[in-house]
């Protein structure tokens, strides 16, 4: 798979998006659709301001959001994987948990946010729990399917070739679940950002969601755009800086999908 055509495609689509944005911004006034220049100016101001790294500075808010998301994600991955594995290997476990998972999936995320904030107070722990509980069911479902999907014929093969239990888990079972773990991580990450900003908006005094709410209160459209943009940059960094490379490394054996 040559990188060229794909990244070219990406460049085209980014340019198109930018053009649409510029076009809209030239039609509407800045308090409705601020243009790229205005937004970037605001971002620049935020991140270069005196005390950008201090508490209440831009980087502090970004750091807070990232921290909450990561901790919540870790919580969801650990529990989701544990319960998902139980559901995958045992029919009893499956019957026991699948109702919970379905209910967990249908309850609106905001409810988890409200409940944890009311239970634990307006603190980071509550935010992390809200994120963890929200992301848990989708992690669980992915891992559950991954475990059910394990090719037992390969496990039999490994038994014949006299691999020990531990070796079978490491060399035959785990590699089969890795794609599901990656999918679960990416999906859970998407959910986590959204619920994190929501919780920050309703109950926190720091984080990107808090800043969005702050500028919303002041009716500053350029700053709302600026923070959204900042947020997207962080997401891109995580996607292309961490998830994609890890994925490429772990799934190198997969034939490239051409759609």
């Amino acid at each position: 798979m040559k990188g060229n055509p794909a990244s070219l495609q990406r460049l085209y689509s980014a340019i198109l998006l930018l053009l649409v944005w510029i076009a809209l911004a030239s039609v509407f006034p800045p308090h409705i659709v601020p243009g790229p220049v205005v937004v970037l100016e605001n971002v620049w101001e935020n991140v270069t301001a005196q005390g950008a790294f201090s508490s209440q500075g831009a980087f502090f808010h970004i750091y807070k959001t990232v921290l909450r998301v990561v901790l919540g994600l870790v919580f969801a991955m650990i529990w989701g994987t544990a319960i998902g594995v139980v559901m995958g290997v045992s029919a009893r476990g499956e019957k026991f948990f699948d109702g919970w998972v379905m209910v967990g999936l249908t309850i609106p995320a905001i409810v988890y946010g409200m409940v944890t904030l009311m239970w634990f107070g307006l603190n980071d722990f509550a935010a992390v729990m809200a994120i963890g509980v929200t992301a848990f069911p989708s992690v669980c479902i992915n891992i559950w399917h991954g475990v059910k999907d394990i090719d037992m014929q390969l496990v039999d093969m490994a038994k014949v070739f006299q691999l020990q239990r531990g070796e079978i888990v490491r060399k035959v079972i785990l590699p089969q679940i890795v794609p599901f773990i990656l999918a679960a991580t990416r999906y859970a990450l998407g959910i986590s950002w959204k619920i994190c900003t929501t919780v920050e908006l309703i109950g926190m005094s720091s984080g990107v969601g808090f800043m969005l709410n702050y500028w919303f209160g002041l009716f500053s459209m350029p700053q709302v755009f600026a923070w959204t943009f900042t947020f997207m940059v962080v997401l891109f960094l995580i996607e292309f800086g961490i998830i994609k490379p890890v994925e490429r490394h772990l799934l190198a054996w997969r034939p490239a999908v051409h759609v």
Binding site: V160, F161, E167, P175, P255
Partner: protein
Amino acid sequence: MSAGKIAIRELVKVFRSPAGGEVRAIDGLSFGVPEGAFVSVLGPSGCGKSTLLNIMAGLDRPTSGEIQIDGRAITDQDRPRIGFVFQQPRLLPWRTIEGNLWLPLERTGNRAAGRAVIERYVELVGLRGFERYYPGQISGGMQQRVAIARALIMEPEILLMDEPFSNLDEMTARKMRAELIRIWQKTGKTIIFVTHDISEAIFLSTRVILTTRRPARIYRDLSIDLPVPRRYDDDRLFEIEKEVMRDFLQYMEDTEGAPPPEMGRPGGAGGEVLLGGY
């Protein structure tokens, strides 16, 4: 009183079918295999041949009866070194060809020796140059050859092969058969070789066991007392083949459409009414 390398006694295997009924795959199969024999098992599709190999490899338990290897029952702890070429290649898709061949060798731990052995077997199955390919990047026949190399590479005492050459073109298959015979003659392995192909069975083996339709019992057990390696154009082979083929096709024809015993329930008048057209 050695019963030979492998002794199969009154083997019965009954599966639970998805519908909840029972499928009798093997019904009281008994035979012994002396050390160093090359036995082909030949039978209609779905009669229980793969099931037999699975039980031999310790992957499945018989419903009753037993299989002994070297006079001992197969247990989880202590099983003889068995090489198994499955009906499907069963390669690890995330490992290269080389990586797949490492799988049975990794526990021995000797990298340098392992590398040399792998190189030899890659050469043997004609896959030189494909060592770094993933299974998804090579053809089905090539995958099957990797699986054959993997089974041979661990120097098994017993080699179980489930239609290993059925995916190969005739030229490649002939080459692989010649190699198999060469390895067998050199190492004296005991080989159980499942196939659909009567001429292949007769060409390769010292003994051919033909099984009935499911549930598998022995239909015919014949020794092929011809020197090895054999030639494809040997008239004696051809004579045996003709006779066996005629006989077996007749058997297949006679039993065509006959329901397997477990489907005709005792006293189940329902089926007969329909057939009799009362």
